[in-house]
Amino acid sequence: MVNGKTTAPLLLTCLVLCCLLAAAEPMWAGAATAEPENWQKEFDDVCSKTQDAMIFSQQELKALVDRCDALEPQIARLDETRKKVYLKRLQQCRGLYSYVLESKKQESKK
């Protein structure tokens, strides 16, 4: 029979292990297998419009730049690999919107 003195630490150890397992990202979780998380859905939506950058208005471009800025801290909290991949991609996508916005502003000044 198991007494209370041994059960409590055992349960605590199990609880800690479960928490660690839940938090850890498995090494085999490939890019293609994981369910899209909220940040990823937002990233895909924001950065899927780059080919239309030239036809957006200044307001639309500004909104896209703001959405990129809001995503950055969320991506910065990811594991090392995804942080590296997606921060670079976000930088490219934000850079383009900001670049086109700037060129439209200059054109409108003429």
Partner: protein, 268 residues
């Protein structure tokens, strides 16, 4: 012909001359070496040979955008700082080299597995092959046979090869690429050569956007927003800026002058 143009051509000829001392002149890569990237910093620390990446092999299968935007490879050697763990997680090389993706009906070999054994050495050495006398499975000569030929770089006309259907670079990798609408066709445009008698440049915006997308070039490579405000000089291009980011390393090299300077000379 203008004396300055003659001097420019003479300089290019001198730089291309094989009699120039090696200490002064960089050796011109052979067609199968052109575009080759050697990545070493991480692997040598773990006792593995540096990775030899054959750019020609991969560009035949994927658009520039897939690798340099969707997968996230930097445009400069070593800037990505790829680690084995990144590949194991299914990113960078591991996005395709995962033992699952099919290419020409065969699974693409897995890169950097966690539990590699001595039996895996041959697989590791398919990439970690610098300094090893390994024969590429896909010989360049055999690969290049159906291609229309060009004079420099890989000696291949990649653009025409695509038009003829010899290559069909994929523009999507499952799990990493974002589904996008197809790009609206961009108009080609002319750029002044800024040198009397030098043919103007016809820039194929259409071809560049189809292969690269917009965000690969703007603003990282071409940052000026005001048309005509940025000055592009041959010196800066030879230093790897603007056009030189690709055209000297992986795309047709800068000594192939008339592929860009392609309009008839204009009298100024």
């Amino acid at each position: 012909m203008n004396a300055r143009i003659l001097a420019a051509f003479a300089l290019i000829l001198v730089l291309a001359s094989p009699s120039l001392p090696q200490s002064f002149k960089k050796k011109r890569p052979l067609p199968y070496e052109f575009g080759r990237v050697v990545l070493g910093s991480g692997s040598t620390r773990t006792g593995l040979a540096p990775v030899v990446f054959e750019h020609w092999f991969h560009r035949a299968r994927f658009s520039c955008r897939v690798c340099h935007v969707d997968i996230g490879f930097a445009m400069k050697t070593g800037e990505t700082a790829i680690k084995a763990a990144d590949n194991m997680r299914g990113y960078y090389c591991g996005a395709c080299h995962n033992g699952k993706m099919l290419s020409e009906g065969r699974p693409v070999f897995e890169a950097c597995s966690k539990n590699a054994t001595a039996d895996d050495a041959a697989r590791c050495e398919r990439c970690h092959s610098s300094g090893k006398p390994l024969k590429l499975e896909n010989e360049f000569a055999q690969f290049a046979r159906p291609f229309p030929k060009e004079r420099f770089g890989n000696g291949l006309d990649w653009q025409q090869a695509e038009e003829l259907g010899i290559i069909q670079p994929a523009d999507f990798v499952k799990g990493l690429s974002i589904k996008r609408k197809s790009l609206s066709i961009q108009q080609d445009f002319a750029l002044d050569a800024k040198l009397a008698g030098m043919p103007d440049i016809i820039f194929s915006h259409k071809k560049h956007t189809v292969w690269n997308g917009c965000e690969l070039c703007h603003p990282e490579i071409f940052m000026g927003v005001k048309k005509g405000a940025s000055r592009y000089t041959m010196v800066s291009i030879f230093e790897g800026k603007s056009c030189g980011a690709c055209h000297n390393t992986v795309a047709f090299p800068l000594m192939d002058c008339q592929r860009c300077h392609s309009t008839p000379p204009v009298q100024r």
